[in-house]
Amino acid sequence: MDRRQERELEAQRKAAMAALALAPADELKRLCSEAGISGEAEMLRGPETGLVSVRGRIGGGGAPFNFGEATVTRATVRLPSGEIGHAYALGRDKEKARLSAIADALWQNPARRAEVENKILSPLRAAQVEADATRRAETAATKVDFFTMVRGED
């Protein structure tokens, strides 16, 4: 595999992990149980909850500064077939982290990737896209349309 393909694969894995992190916990648990992937995986780390310090930038784009912390839960698993999966997500849901790590590990196995994509990631992504579109449309409805009052004869 050349460097370009490797990068592409990394970008895909990053996107897959992002979809898992953004997923509502209940939805992820339901999809995993339907897909039958709650299964046997060795826990290498966690699931454990900790903090990240959240950074912003002065003025929006300037020097970074810390402005608060957020709870994050992470997990690392190893599948019987050897793949190691990681998960990080905001919040304190340990089962979500464990399932996400298993999904990440399965995703790395080319033979299982399509299954993870179709049964887990696709529905999650579709739901996220729809939720975002709804929110955007609701916000757009509150956009101010200015009009000019013409006063006088000319």
Partner: protein, 369 residues
């Protein structure tokens, strides 16, 4: 001699049991659920997250429930909880230009790209109580409209083209962002540390200080260049992965205050800026923060420091409501021995005072005669 006094264990235990009872209140009224607080007291939850300096809605809601709605007590609980957790790292700085915007208004540009989006605001409501709410009326779904999907540039980027507004605040390349959760406060401090303290600072305190600058105590001629509220993605660099991992999204409020500035020995006439960035939907807090940020830059911009809001040590030392409440409220704890000592001292001083007055009296009479 030191005499230790013990006692009160039973009283304390019973007081806590009474507190638990009063917190729950009338058992015939259904108990609140965490999700009800998260959904329906969302802005109270946001305030606890911002000033507790911990983004976790369910925890903040639990804290509000446990504190009977006393938000400073809830903030205290959240701050105490966060000390029990390990730190995984520092996120990449959020990019507010890519925010999924839920509200965005500018008081300086009517027609800015992306437009004025009012979002779920209290502005333009009549502030009339609505008794109907008590009957849980059906609430209609929000209106929807096709958005134009325009990228919403930060308002500072618009003015920047003319060179009339200062850039985003830069610090030296090698500057490591300070962290007041790791190092004690030291004065004077850099702007990054000040902003961290302001972001978790008490909304009421910062609001009053911001108000004071408007009333003339350190006037800064402010305009709201932009307020935006919405979700941004968090990313964290971790050693086990070759890319920054996405953690999820958080909702933040950002305020870009733009201030007319007549120039000084240090800087030419231009628009200067104050910045506010706060967890959750917390517009008042973000605006107050940006007013305070600008006021506290007086020294950097060569302005005279004449007002409380410009005094860094005064503002930052007193902005934390957990520290403030701790020190104020500790006064009610037993000070029996201190007070005994003071009582003794005052008694002695009074005795000496009276004695002096008595011995002074004849002379005073003489002098008067």
């Amino acid at each position: 001699m030191y005499v230790a006094v013990k006692g009160g264990e039973a009283a304390i235990a019973n007081a806590h049991r009474l507190l638990a009872d009063r917190r729950r209140g009338d058992r015939s009224v259904p108990a609140l659920r965490i999700d009800q607080i998260v959904e329906q007291l969302a802005l109270g939850v946001d305030r606890v997250m911002a000033e507790g300096s911990l983004y976790d809605r369910e925890l903040a809601a639990l804290a509000i429930m446990q504190s009977r709605g006393d938000l400073i007590e809830a903030i205290f609980l959240v701050r105490a909880y966060r000390t029990t957790l390990p730190r995984f790292g520092y996120t990449r700085p959020i990019d507010t230009a890519t925010m999924q915007v839920e509200r965005r208004v500018s008081a300086t540009y009517k027609d800015l790209p992306g437009g004025q989006l009012l979002g779920p605001t209290f502005d333009y409501t009549h502030r009339l109580l609505d008794p109907e709410l008590a009957n849980d009326p059906a609430i209609s779904e929000p209106e929807q409209r096709e958005g134009d999907g325009q990228r919403m540039a930060r308002v500072s980027e618009i003015l920047a083209h003319e060179g009339l507004i200062e850039a985003d605040g830069e610090l030296p390349e090698d500057h490591v962002p300070g962290d007041i959760t790791r190092e004690p406060l030291e004065f004077p401090m850099e702007r990054d540390i000040r902003l961290q303290a302001l972001s978790r600072g008490d909304e009421g305190f910062l609001l009053a200080l911001g108000y004071s600058t408007q009333r003339g105590y350190g006037r800064s001629h402010p305009f709201v260049g932009e307020v935006r509220i919405g979700e941004v993605e968090l990313e964290l660099d971790v050693p086990e992965l070759p890319f920054p991992v996405t953690l999820g999204r958080i909702r933040v409020t950002e305020c870009q205050m733009v201030n007319q500035f007549k120039g000084s020995a240090k800087a030419p006439p231009q628009f200067t800026r104050g910045y506010g960035l706060v967890f959750g939907q917390s517009e008042r807090k973000a605006m107050a923060m940006s007013l305070c940020d600008r006021a506290l830059r007086a020294g950097e911009l060569g302005e005279d420091i004449t007002a409380p809001a410009q005094d860094e040590e005064f503002v930052i030392s007193h902005s934390d409501n957990v520290q403030a409440t701790g020190f104020v409220e500790h006064l009610k704890l037993p000070h029996y021995v201190d007070f005994q000592a003071e009582l003794d001292l005052v008694r002695r001083m009074r005795g000496e005072h009276d004695k002096r007055n008595r011995s002074d009296e004849p002379e005073q009479r003489e002098a008067a005669e």
